[in-house]
Amino acid sequence: MTVGAKVKQTLATLKGVESTLRVYSLQSSNEDEKEVYRSALNTTKEVIKDLENRLKVLEYEEPQYKGN
């Protein structure tokens, strides 16, 4: 597996994490709990953004694997 494909897989997992955190940040009843999930959601978003940027570079470097 190329680096690009691996990063993509991690990205997919992270996006799954993001969506679960979003559900919990909405459906929690305790305000503190909600806040923790919300801040976790923001951190995950930041990581996802960084990884997506890195992925663009990788795809530029290894265009033959683009879209895999």
Binding site: K6, T13, A40, V47, R54
Partner: protein
Amino acid sequence: MQNWLIMLLRAISMFVVTIPLIRLLGRGNLRNITPFKFVNYTIIALMIALISLGVVPNILHSIIVLGAWFALLLSLDYLSLKSKAIHDVINGKETIIMKDGKVMEANLKEVHFTGEDLLRELRSKNIFNLADVEFAVMESTGEINVMVKSDKKPLTAHDIQKKVAPKSEPQTVILDGNILDESLANRGLNRAWLKVELAKAGVSLDNVFIGQVDSSGDLYLDLFDDSVQISQPKVKELLYANIQQCHADLLSYALETDNKTAKEMYSKNADKLKTLINKLEPYLLN
């Protein structure tokens, strides 16, 4: 009028009179009642019984006496709410039975308690060893409350300096196969959400005996048919495992890449996820 009819009318009218009178007395737990109140309640109950049986010939007199007892009891109740001194006179004060791990024999005698009684009360509180007791007090209701020595107290999260997630009370949303709309609304959920959750668990509504939504919005189900195995929510554990996996991935990318900025980016984000894991741990694993 016939005699039996009078008796019947008497019984019915006393019954009807008693209901609001009992409501007036307030709603304390009868188990934790002071002797003063116990005597009063007994006397009132006896009076009502005697009146309805017709032992007292003059019904007006009996009503006056009953009313007087009630008025006295209620006014004393009211006064004891207002004044601590009156409260102490009527209900008595709590008595310290054990202090600094030592039995106060004089106080014990004062409340007519023997050593055997004390040991029995302690045992009923799961304390079999007198040496474990730091402080014990007999309340004015006769109940004994005990503070055990601090090294014998149950361990709390605070003691081991572990952070635990704050939790709100769970809401029961299904009972006996019926949806409780009010508690659903309390949590800001609706029937559509519940239907989705039930479909996810693969059970029909009629099969659910109790369904509870916990603080983080997960649905716990107990079924009528106990042979059906349903998967209880494991979403949080899965979420935790996923974040950990991403963290490990980022660490390995940081090692693999030769690009300096990418290395930095990966390790920075790995650190972010690490702090995230630490923060979420009490919420996701419990």
